[in-house]
Amino acid sequence: MPDTSSDTIEHLQLEIVPQRLLKPETAQALLNGILGLEGVIRLFVHGPRLPGTVPYGPAKGTAMTHNSRRLIEIEGNMVELVVSVGSIRLEVEDADVKEQVHEICEKILPFPFEFREGNFMLRRQTVSGYARFGPDQNPLLVGLTDPKGKLRDQVCILKKE
C-alpha cells in the first residue's frame, strides 16, 4: 500500500509554553532567535485572539486597537501579530536543533517555561484537508491552516526559495 503521508521524514515537533503570555517585543525576540537557527522547518504561534473590532456585546463592531496587536519584524518581514503569544509549536530537523531552541528560550524568556517534544502538527493530510487542498498540497502547509480559512491570513512564508 502506498504511503499517503505528505511528509514521510520524521522531524521532531516541539512545543514551548511560557508561564506568561508574551509581550510583542519578547515574542519578536524569541521568534527571531528561533528562526535564525538552521534546521527549523515550520512554526506556528498560538494564543488568545486580539480582534480588530469588538466581537460581542453592546459595542459590537466598534473598531479597536489592542496594545499587543502590533507589527513585528520577523527575519526582515513585517508580520501583524493577531494573537497574544501563549505557546509556540515548531518542527525541527533533529535533536541538536532542539537543544539550540531550548538554549534560546532560556536566554530570552525572563520566566519559567515548559518545553516538550511530541506530536503537535499534522504529519499527513486529513480528509477535509484533502478535499480543500487536493493531493498536491505543499507538505509544509499540512496542518498549519484551518481548511476553511484563507491561507494568506494565516501563514507567512519567510524563506521564499
Binding site: P18, Q19, R20, L21, L22, K23, T26, P48, R49, L50, P51, V54, P55, Y56, G57, P58, A59, T62, M64, T65, H66, N67, S68, S84, G86, P110, F111
Partner: protein, 249 residues
Amino acid sequence: MAYKPQYYPGATSVAANRRKHMSGDVEKLREISEDDLVMVLGHRPPGSDYRSTHPPLAEMGEPECSIRQTVEPTPGAKAGDRVRYVQFVDSMYNGTSVPYFRTYNAAINFRGVDPGTLSGRQVIEARERDMEEVAKFQIETEMFDPALSSLRGATVHGHSLRLPEDGVMFDMLDRARLESDGIVKMHKDQVGRPIDKKVELGKPMSAKEAAKRTTIYRVDNVAFRSDTEVLEWVHRVFDQRTKYGFKPE
C-alpha cells in the same frame, strides 16, 4: 448574647478572607469618584440624572399591602430607576474575590440586588443607584485588585488564561492598561466603548499581597485540602444533601 454570624469555616488565610468578604468587613484601599464610576459602568453619561422606568413610588399610590409597609424600598426602587448591571471578572491566579464571594458579599450586605454567579464572571443587577453603591464598595475595597480583577460587561474571557508579562489579566478588549507610571487605568467602559478620559484604578497588588488577600484556594498558595475544617463541612453538606435527597418510593 447577640447572635454573631460565623459565615464560613476554616483556619487558613483564604477562609478568613472569605469570611471578610461575606461579612462586608473589608479594608478600603482606594477611592473612585462618582463620575469615574459612572463612566466605566457606561450606563449613562456622568453627571446626568438617573433615568427611570416608573414614577417615584410616593407618587404612584401603592395598594394596601402589609409587606410593602414592612419593607422599606431601596433608594433606587423608591425613585423608579432602571435595572442596570455591573459585572466583575477575577483571575484564577490569586484574584481577590472569586465569583461566589462577590455574590455572598452583595446578597448579604446590600438590599434589592440580584447577583448572578458564573464560573468566571459575576454579575450584579439592581436599580441603577443601588447597583452603583455595590460597584463602588467592591471596587474601593480589598475585593478588587486593578491587575487581577476587572469590570467586564462583555467579552469576559481572560480569568482562566495565563497572565501577560506585565501581570494585568488578559483582556481581549484591552479595557485597562498598566501605564508607565505603574498605575492601571481604564480607557474604555465595561463593554469596550472608548471613554473621554482615563480612569485610574490604582496600583496593582504585588504577587505576595494578592496571595495574602485572595479568596481562591490554589495548590501553589493555600491548598483546599490543607483546610481541614472546610473540608469537613463540605463533606457534611454533601453527605446530608445526598441522604435527604434519597426518597425510596
